[in-house]
């Protein structure tokens, strides 16, 4: 069926006269001639079945009507975290990344007209390195989970070994993604145990597993998926390095305002989810994969784009451009360090703006504020009889587990929801050994009253 040759506001040359003028210039009498190389047998002979909203007003109302079916974290009291966090986003961040000069640009292939994106990304890389203490960072991966997948692949390429050690209490989404990323390399993944008492890594188990040959790297998260902090990182690092394996550390960038930076543990590669640095939750995306490392050897194994500082050819001005591109797919093709091309550049710029606004003291203050709220929440909730808070006897940041003991976690979830409260993420399916537990999160947007409201409602629901 022939299309109705409409004129559309997004398509300037869809105006009949202009179209005719161009056709004449090309020397054909109809558009059809231009499509003549498509064999008839495969042509679509009917119209696509897709709704059409000709007016912007109607389209907007339609979308609004659908989105209104959502109940967002602004409308209920929400204690979800587990990898995506409801942090406050300064207005400046949204304004800057809303600027079309940034948002409607492509990858900076032409540095002379892309200094804005390039310098911003260079600043992002620099700030990630200040936070983590690492030597260099790339200018983004898709998300924290794929960054871990790529980090482990880097490790395997760097030392040729194939076994990856990860904690038992790992972020499950990251675990799933890691499996997918390393499966084609025939890598093996083994989990080292962590104490059910205080969550701390079992050093003896780590040592035993490192003793087996072929360990390429050990991955650990600080804070852990359940929000508590590991105390024995120096000891773990020492054991890992003694065996010639690499230490990969997963971080929450906000926590680095108060907790030790990965470089001080001699971490070799750092990965993390950067969403907390000024990105909206957006039902899980876009996100920002942080990937940083140290040392010459790993630099050559880095995936993704890296921006470097240089000068103009006449030496007169500072300038920025993509560097070390021979690692990348457009040059190295099947031998590239990764297939990544489009990344999460604009999200990295958002983070650079976010970190610039906070500054050193601001980041520390934010981390302390969250630490204070976490501690207050734990203290207040642990007064409630019939639940255990936190499940692990350790220092917690931003997140902690509540064990509902005998009560079913789904029932409690439903009851809380009726009261306008979204409880933490239920972890029973992924970690059956932890029973009826849910992972709660408090950030700076949670007020003391919110925590008190949660406490009083939980109290009732538990009794109920």
């Amino acid at each position: 069926m022939k299309s109705k040759r409409i004129t559309h506001r997004f398509i300037p040359n869809s105006v009949e006269e202009i179209e005719g003028e161009i056709l004449a210039a090309i020397g054909v009498s109809s558009l059809e001639e231009l499509f003549s190389s498509i064999p008839k047998e495969v042509r679509l002979k009917r119209k696509l079945e897709i709704p059409y909203y000709p007016s912007e007003f109607e389209l907007k109302s339609h979308c609004k009507e659908i989105l209104d079916k959502n109940v967002s974290a602004d409308e209920i009291l929400c204690f979800l975290g587990a990898g995506i966090y409801n942090h406050y986003i300064p207005s400046v961040v949204k304004e800057i990344i809303g600027r079309a000069e940034f948002s409607t640009a492509y990858t900076p292939y032409q540095p002379e007209v892309s200094q804005g994106v390039l310098q911003s990304l260079f600043e992002y890389q620099s700030m990630i390195c200040e936070l983590t203490g690492m030597d260099y960072a790339n200018c983004s991966m898709y998300d924290g989970a794929s960054a871990l997948g790529e980090a482990c692949r880097m490790s395997i390429r760097a030392n040729g070994k194939r076994k990856i050690l990860i904690p038992k209490f790992i972020n499950p989404e990251r675990f799933e993604v890691l499996k997918t990323y390393v499966e084609p390399l025939d890598a093996k993944i083994a989990k080292y145990s962590q104490s059910l008492e205080d969550g701390q890594a079992d050093l003896r188990d780590i040592e035993a597993k490192l003793g087996e040959e072929d360990v390429t790297c050990l991955y650990m998260e600080q804070p852990s998926y359940f929000g508590y902090l590991e105390q024995n990182l120096d000891e773990i690092s020492e054991r890992v390095h003694k065996k010639g394996a690499l230490l990969i550390m997963g971080i929450d960038p906000i926590s680095l305002g108060i907790f030790r930076e990965p470089s001080s543990y001699q971490a070799d590669i750092v990965v993390g989810e950067g969403q907390a640095l000024g990105l909206s939750m957006n039902y899980g995306g876009p996100l920002l994969g942080i990937l940083a490392a140290r040392g010459e050897l790993l630099l050559r194994q880095m995936p993704g784009r890296i921006v470097g500082m240089t000068t103009t050819q006449d030496g007169r001005f500072l300038a920025f451009c993509n560097v070390l591109q021979t690692r990348e797919q457009h040059i190295r093709r099947e031998r590239a360090t990764s297939n990544i091309c489009t990344n999460e550049a604009l999200m990295a710029i958002a983070s650079a703006v976010f970190l610039s606004l906070l500054g050193p003291q601001g980041l520390k203050d934010l981390a302390e504020c969250i630490l204070a709220k976490t501690s207050y929440a734990i203290k207040r909730l642990s007064e409630i009889k019939g639940i255990k808070v936190p499940s692990f006897n350790a220092i917690h940041f931003k997140e902690f587990l509540i064990n509902y003991q005998k009560k079913d976690c789904y029932e409690i979830h439903k009851e809380l929801l009726k009261r306008g409260i979204h409880g933490g993420k239920i972890v029973r399916e992924e970690f059956p050994e932890l029973g009826n537990s849910a992972l709660y999160c408090v950030t700076e947007v949670i007020k003391k009253e919110h925590i008190d409201t949660l406490a009083s409602n939980l109290e009732e629901v538990i009794k109920y």
């Binding site: 299309s3 109705k4 040759r5 997004f10 398509i11 300037p12 040359n13 161009i22 090309i26 499509f35 498509i38 495969v42 119209k47 696509l48 897709i50 389209l59 907007k60 989105l67 959502n70 109940v71 974290a73 400046v92 800057i96 079309a100 000069e101 409607t104 990858t107 002379e112 007209v113 200094q115 804005g116 994106v117 310098q119 620099s126 200018c139 989970a145 993604v177 997918t180 084609p184 590991e230 108060i258 930076e261 939750m281 039902y283 899980g284 995306g285 876009p286 996100l287 000068t311 103009t312 300038a319 070390l324 093709r333 297939n339 489009t342 999460e344 604009l346 606004l357 050193p360 501690s375």
Partner: protein
Amino acid sequence: MEEELKALEEIKAKIPEKILRKSLAKLPELSEVEVVRHFTRLSQQNYGVDLGIYPLGSCTMKYNPKISEEIVRSPKLTQMHPYQDMSLAQGILRIMYELQIYLSKITGMDKFSLQPAAGAQGEFVGALIMRAYHRDRDKRRNEIIVPDSSHGTNPASASMAGFKVIVIPSNDEGLVDLEALKASLSDRTAGMMITNPNTLGLFEVQIAEIARMVHEAGGLMYYDGANLNAILGKVRPGDMGFDIVHVNLHKTFAVPHGGGGPGAGPVGVKDYLKDYLPIPTVEFNGKEYYLDYNKEKSIGRVRSFYGNVAHLVRAYIYLLALGPDGLERVSEISVLNANYIMMKLSKYYDLPKAKGKFRMHEVVLSSSKIKRDTGVRTMDISKALLDKGIHPPTIYFPLIVEEALMIEPTETESKEELDRLIQAMIDIREQAYKDPESLLNSPQNTTISRVDELKANHPKSLKLTWRYIR
């Protein structure tokens, strides 16, 4: 506040010194207005689609409608946590569900996953699906075939998924050489990755035959959707014989590129492959929309959560803003514009391969004759374009064309804007013959003159963070 501070003091007393940071991170220390000015000024040093034509071949740099930008700023989207109870997320799940269906209709596939964050991640998923499919049939198929004109991500994705990459040459017409294809097919063939129209902007007229040959050999056909803009509503990958496709929402479906990302690369498959898709997919049971994790054969996950959701919403809005007739117009006019450029410029630049044939949505020219005659390279031409306030085409790709200039105007450029590009390229060529030296110093009208990339990459002067200069 008071009680929180008290809790803070208590906890601080308990935290062992050895896990605390010793000194503050050396971040900038600026007032708000200084940050705003810094980044606003930087943005002014950047070119984007909103400033003018951006004819990067293979990248489909079209206008990104503002309505999408306004809608995705709604807290009804931005403030949605991915683990929220599904009963609270019915709006966004519906959009995702309907998008899966619309993408299926456009591509002729049966089922979509919205998870991949970009085209390359979609390719990785596709290659993993091939791997899983063949493993279930107990075959050791470990080779993926790609044409030499393919994008770098194709071989890189295949290789990441554990395949050996077999590269086959294009023929003189710039199309897949069937003899070479035949010779490369065997019981090791897992599949073929190809884009159509190909990276020369030519439609692979033998595509049905290519698919038949690959299928007969036991392989699967993967469609790289980077070039889908040329064929919306005209022909569908599913009808050409493809089994797996990815689409780049940040190309065909008007999602802004963000200075390099984020994008979104949903993957669609035919019925017999749907169990391999990443988990979760979005489903509808007649009453409620929900996330379905129940897929034993799934290749797993390639990223956390469900995809770059804000971009999915943008693509959804775009589709509805155009409708079936509008989408066909997208392809028609993108092809019209590309052929106009070819007609006007092929008198001045070489047209490698398939002379006299129409192109689809893009045209690849070569300046190798100019280089031979004057010493002026494609690189210099692109810098001279910058001086005229025009973003250059993609250069030096596809690799099979010397001194390539790959031009994709898209349908959203006016005739005036196309004429501006055409005239600029004609003028630059003339200048190359008259005064080649003058081009070697371009650009001069940009915020900075030509960047020293050699110095940027030299081990002695490599600077990857500001610490390198402290």
